[in-house]
Symmetry: C2
């Protein structure tokens, strides 16, 4: 909410980006060089004003009158915005049920996101390959994160281990933490943290339902 | 965003409710009948104006000058808001990695939330007890949801099964769906759907990190 940047896009907007990308890549394959906002809007069943807003948030090209936007540039801009060029691969620590669920999740590919390596302290898990991703021992965290330039760390450990894992990830050069552990993490100023609190999501739905039932 | 109700509380606000509840219950145990907003604010390290806002969103009691809010009434109001009295138990369908992760998640208890029964079509899973929750065969979905008055359904099946499961939950009397499957669900007007799209969360973090790196 405190973001003060030209690149402000709502969660819904980010959700639309993969659809734009898919459509633009189809046009690129067909050899089309330019596309008007109206054509994107019509094909994807989104209001044109919304398309223009979304594209303005991710791209600085103004679009040419009559011909529209350069397809190649838009593709590059969207991929750039989503971090395809620098911030799309992650290390996951904690290969329990949730860790495995994320490693097996096929939806990430739509956003060019990839869990490149997983880590766990359980020797029984080390060496396993889950959905194409290998599980390494914790001792190799720093080496592999640095070697593969992994800048995102996903923490799916139990809460008591989360801060220690977070510290290790930060030491390994990770710049953004996606935290599923039910605990507040302390990080240096230049490290982003995004908390995924399942209980809050559940509570949101439950309180909405309670309101609905009361109104009936 | 379209909510037009006096009970509007931000996600952050809902996140604070369990802390209020915990503190108020401590006061109740000590036999205190009233508490001023300032005392709550100080104990929980939250701005008093924020405390007043949060409480106004969940409770209609104005608070008495000098003495503050009735502890018993506040507890009842917060529990009511969170749906403890009508909407706090759920049925989960799809006992894969994610399903098991949710069933094992201890954070729900802070909000009085509870996964009361789980369902799967895999006979190997049926009869298992995960974190105190039994896995039933799909054939018993309707019977158990109705018997236990489960109004929330959690869908953690693969995407192709999600709509069928959703339809079965709605037929079983469920009024709110928490959907983790990467698919758009069709439901009757009086059923709430909350989509939990992991890929969008990941993309949000990745795009924020990309922005940060570009600004450096």
């Amino acid at each position: 909410m405190q973001e003060q940047d030209t690149h402000v896009l709502s969660v819904q907007g980010i959700k639309r980006l993969p659809y734009y990308l898919k459509y633009l890549k189809e046009l690129q394959t067909k050899g089309m060089e330019y596309v008007p906002a109206g054509a994107i809007a019509e094909s994807l069943n989104i209001y044109e004003v919304q398309v223009r807003k979304d594209l303005a948030a991710v791209s600085s090209q103004p679009g040419k009158p009559r011909v529209g936007f350069s397809v190649d540039s838009l593709i590059a801009d969207i991929e750039h915005f989503l971090g395809y060029d620098c911030a799309h691969t992650a290390a996951l620590v904690g290969v329990g049920h949730l860790g495995k669920a994320l490693m097996s999740y096929s939806g990430f590919a739509d956003y060019g996101l990839d869990i490149a390596a997983a880590f766990d302290c359980d020797p029984a898990l080390v060496g396993q390959c889950i959905h194409g991703c290998e599980v390494f021992p914790m001792e190799r965290l720093s080496e592999i994160c640095r070697q593969r330039k992994l800048l995102i760390g996903i923490i799916t450990t139990p809460a008591p281990q989360a801060q220690g894992v977070c510290d290790a990830l930060v030491r390994a050069g990770v710049r953004a933490i996606w935290n599923f552990a039910h605990v507040h993490l302390h990080v240096p100023k230049d490290v982003l943290v995004q908390n995924e609190d399942m209980a809050v999501s559940f509570a949101l739905l439950s309180s909405k339902l309670a309101q609905t039932l009361r109104q009936e």
